[in-house]
């Protein structure tokens, strides 16, 4: 009889992307009427798994059972027909249409005509039943993020889904809105619907879930009933084992070293105009690796952009080797020896349609051997470029092929080759190994450590705690636009950093250097 109680079952799901295994033999049973949380760090494979359920990806192997029956999901439509509804992290709504119009996109009861009276009645009924206040005739573009989420949920309820998948639903909500969302979810549970709740926030999972599954590196670590576990146990499972540090600098070494960059009270706005950096101060010394841990979206991207002149400051000062930066322009920072390995490799870090040579000289073409008066000496560029690409082991069929055809690891090696060839004082590396396979990760680490040996300062911003703990001399944690005071690596444990990352306790603030 137990078989029937599982509304959804996944058997041996495998999904690979170039160079990484996103889901490695996932076995998962989800009970009817359960709120089942899937917990894991970014990149653990949660979203991939759910995109398989939603029909956006198809698994390489493995099977899916719904109510004990084997099914094949090859498109989002199949998924909807099977009663699975997904609310994505980035909402799939059309801003210029009304709420009601958005709700019937892709799946409408009336095929040819829209009876707007009937439709809005139904929406109002649903919204009252589940405590989801929305106005059917409002324009979606005018709604707040929380309201948009409610529209997404109603859209799924309108489609009569039995299994609702929510991908990081609280990442954009205010605490008050979170509570409302949880109320709705509990109501839906009462009605017998099954909810899959994806999150990396421990406290929320403890609050709402009945069952918790922990994913790490694409594998399921364990599935537990919430009442039988504790936040500490879950955090341990999420983060994994502690790695041995390669950091060598002691506190004295660092105190002796020359300071490369000082940032004071930086305040900057994010893309949506929200405050992304709130009075962030930091300093970094020659030959030091300063690791900044944190779940992405807490201001790391903005911090890197501010420190490379790509984002303007609202407040604050930046000093490079004691000299204050006056013009906040990228060229100013490049000329002052600051290299940047951006988080968005393809969108920012390179010119996809240009060939590998043109990409590798992207920052050095302003200097002598390549620059000849007003001209670019491509002969020289080809010579230097080819040498660099070989030195950094960028594997390609030809130097003249468009860089977009390189694999992720090789793109990153190309970027490293370029950034290091500028002879920097400071390298700002943002998620330098995310999405790369093991050998590429090792390469990147090797090159960064080699630069450190030469006395280059490295600001390592990463979500990968292992990476931070392995490489850094000092560690700081970023949470909601604020930076904890840095501490020497020796005094950090995976646990206290993990807690600071998830904002579940502030111990790290007290445990100062």
């Amino acid at each position: 009889m137990e078989e029937i109680k599982n509304v959804l079952e996944l058997k041996n799901i495998v999904k690979t992307f170039p160079g990484i295994i996103a889901n490695d033999h996932i076995n998962l049973k989800i009970k009817k009427g359960d709120i089942h949380a899937i917990l894991g760090e970014n990149g653990a494979g949660k979203s991939t798994l759910m995109n398989i359920l939603a029909g956006l990806y198809s698994p390489d192997s493995g099977s899916i059972f719904i109510n004990g029956k084997k099914v094949k999901i090859s498109s989002p439509k199949d998924s909807i027909d099977l009663g699975i509804g997904m609310v994505h992290q980035h909402y799939k709504l059309v801003d210029t249409l009304k709420v009601a119009e958005n709700i019937i996109i892709g799946w409408a009861e009336q095929k040819w005509m829209i009876n707007s009276k009937m439709l809005s009645d139904k929406i109002v009924t649903l919204s009252e039943k589940y405590n989801l206040a929305v106005a059917p005739n409002a324009l979606v573009g005018d709604l707040s993020v929380g309201e948009k989420q409610r529209v997404e949920i109603i859209k799924m309820l309108y489609r009569n889904v039995e299994i609702l998948v929510l991908d990081e639903p609280t990442s954009v909500l205010a605490p008050q809105e979170c509570q409302n969302l949880f109320k709705t979810l509990r109501e839906m549970k009462q009605q017998g619907k099954t909810i899959i709740f994806i999150s990396h926030k421990l406290n929320e999972v403890m609050d709402i879930a009945d069952t918790v599954t922990v994913l790490r590196n694409g594998k399921i670590i364990n599935t537990l009933v919430k009442d039988d576990t504790s936040p500490r146990q879950l955090a341990r499972m999420m983060l994994g084992k502690e790695m041995e540090a390669v950091a060598k600098n002691t506190l004295e070494d660092l105190q002796k070293a020359e300071t490369v960059l000082v940032a004071e009270d930086l305040k900057a706005l994010g893309d949506e105009g929200e405050i992304a950096l709130n009075d962030v101060s930091l300093s970094i010394k020659k030959g030091e690796i300063l690791g900044i841990a944190g779940v992405s979206g807490n201001g790391q991207k903005e911090l890197a952009e501010v420190l490379t002149g790509l984002r303007s400051l609202v407040k604050g000062k930046i000093f490079i080797q004691g000299k204050e930066v006056k013009k906040y322009k990228a060229i100013e920072f490049i000329n002052n020896g600051i290299s940047h390995i951006p988080a968005d490799r393809i969108g920012v870090g390179m010119i996809p349609d240009f060939n590998c040579i043109e990409n590798v000289i992207l920052k050095t073409y302003r200097k002598k051997p390549i620059k000849k008066g007003l001209m670019l000496d491509f002969k020289e560029a080809n010579k230097i470029g080819e040498q660099l690409l070989n030195e950094y082991d960028v594997r390609m069929s030809s130097c003249y092929m468009p860089a977009k055809l390189l694999s992720g690891g090789n793109i990153q090696k190309l970027i490293l080759a370029r950034e290091i060839s500028c002879n920097p004082q400071l390298i700002i590396a943002v998620h330098p190994t995310s999405g790369l396979d093991v050998s590429a990760v090792n390469m990147v680490h090797k090159f960064l450590l080699k630069e450190r040996e030469k006395g280059v300062a490295i600001l390592l911003i990463s979500e990968d705690l292992d990476e931070i703990l392995t490489l850094s001399d000092e560690i700081s944690v970023m949470f909601k636009g604020e930076l904890t005071p840095k501490q020497i690596r020796k005094n950090c444990s995976i646990e206290n950093i993990g807690y600071a990352m998830m904002g579940i306790d502030k111990e790290i603030k007290e445990a100062k250097v």
């Binding site: 170039p18 160079g19 490379t308 002149g309 790509l310 322009k329 990228a330 060229i331 920072f333 490049i334 000329n335 940047h340 951006p342 968005d344 969108g347 920012v348 870090g349 390179m350 010119i351 996809p352 349609d353 240009f354 043109e358 992207l362 920052k363 073409y365 302003r366 620059k371 007003l374 001209m375 670019l376 491509f378 594997r395 390609m396 069929s397 468009p402 055809l405 390189l406 694999s407 690891g409 090789n410 396979d437 050998s439």
Partner: protein, 382 residues
């Protein structure tokens, strides 16, 4: 159901085949249309195209048309390389003509060696200014340059009308035009026995010069960078605003130069009809040539032939609307051919019990192919 897939890389051979095939199909359809309307298609085509493409006088006439066509296409290509749409070529062309005409009418007593350069400078500066003004709203307030450049066309064309009907009207003529230029303001003929003037050399120099600048100079590299990935360019420390303004000013200046050459080399006065829609055709040519200056020269030549043949067909007694339709057909097919070079179309059957098995097989085959492609792509890498 038709499945459309993006080809990741386009082979030269595919592009050429698609181009030739689309021209042939368009000719075939034109033949059918002409036949249905009781014109003699074979005769029309052999006479018209034979004359324009294979006889000396036709070729020279094509070269004359190529002057404004190639400059106008460059005027689209330079901003497009930097990531901006210049749809104001027609207006900028007329602005150049206005600048030249103003000087020619104001200083008729100057010798040619001073007057012609002055006309060029005035035309280029005026049209460059138009390009500059159309870019300001984009940079300051994020208003699309497509809008501002399109609207600048209407303003300038109406301004031309005001000039030819009123301010600069030729009192001796009833037509809407300015007085004819003095001889010193006319460009000398380059090839005797034709109308090809010295502007031809200037146009070729511009094509080669722009090609060189884009490919071999720091300026060209930075300009292409800005167009290919604006965020990447900013990351590399490039001031993208500078390239927005400069590319537009250069582009508009080139269109202006075409206008100057047209009034001082061919028409010898300002008229509201000096452009045979050069500015708009330029857009098509620039994109069919994939923005490459050298390709613009060749595509532009073929296109000039089309324009010239159009006039010839009218002279043979075909109504101008039919000529316009034929030109449209050929263009439509060339552009549709573009679609086939970038996308792959395959027929996928939908539903049905029998086809379902086939579909599965097809998917398996597809997967297999994907795996092979995938391997090819990444084995080169990892």
């Amino acid at each position: 159901m038709i499945k459309i897939e993006n080809r990741r890389t386009v082979q030269m051979s595919t592009a050429i085949c698609a181009g030739i095939l689309s021209v042939l199909i368009s000719l075939l359809i034109s033949v059918i249309v002409l036949q249905l309307m009781h014109y003699k298609p074979i005769e029309v085509f052999s006479k018209v195209f034979g004359k324009t493409y294979f006889r000396l006088d036709g070729i020279l006439e094509n070269l004359l048309t190529l002057i404004p066509i190639s400059l106008c296409a460059l005027s689209v290509a330079v901003p497009a390389k930097a990531g901006f749409w210049n749809i104001g070529v027609e207006g900028q062309f007329y602005m150049g003509a206005i600048g030249a005409t103003g000087i020619a009418l104001a200083f008729p007593y100057l010798p040619r060696s001073i007057l012609v350069p002055l006309m060029l400078i005035s035309g280029i500066i005026l049209s460059g200014l138009v390009g500059f003004l159309s870019t300001i709203p984009k940079i300051k307030w994020g208003i699309s340059e497509i809008l501002t450049t399109i609207l600048s066309n209407s303003i300038i064309i109406f301004f031309v009308k005001y000039l030819v009907y009123d301010a600069w009207n030729d009192p001796k003529s009833v037509a809407a035009q300015t007085p004819e230029f003095v001889n010193a303001a006319k460009l000398p003929i380059l090839i005797q026995g034709s109308r090809v003037h010295y502007g031809f050399i200037l146009a070729i120099l511009m094509v080669l010069g722009i090609n060189f600048i884009l490919k071999h100079t720091i300026f060209g590299y930075e300009l292409r960078l800005t167009g290919a990935n604006p965020r990447g360019a900013e990351y590399a420390g490039i001031d993208s605003k500078k390239y927005a303004y400069l590319s537009m000013v250069i582009g508009a200046g080139l269109a202006g130069m075409a206008g100057v050459l047209e009034v001082s080399g061919v028409v010898f006065r300002l008229q509201p009809t000096i452009s045979a829609d050069y500015g708009f055709s330029a857009f098509v040519i620039a994109w069919v040539a994939r923005l490459s200056p050298i390709a613009i020269l060749f595509i532009g030549y073929l296109f000039s032939g089309l324009l010239v043949s159009g006039f010839k067909m009218q002279m043979m007694g075909l109504p101008s609307s039919i000529v316009a339709m034929l030109k449209g057909l050929i263009l439509l097919f060339v552009l549709a051919g573009e679609l086939f070079t970038f996308y792959k179309f395959s027929w996928v059957r939908k539903n049905g019990k029998v086809t379902k098995i086939k579909k599965k097989k097809k998917i398996e085959v597809l997967n297999q192919n994907n795996k092979i492609n995938f391997k090819k792509q990444y084995e080169g890498g990892e």
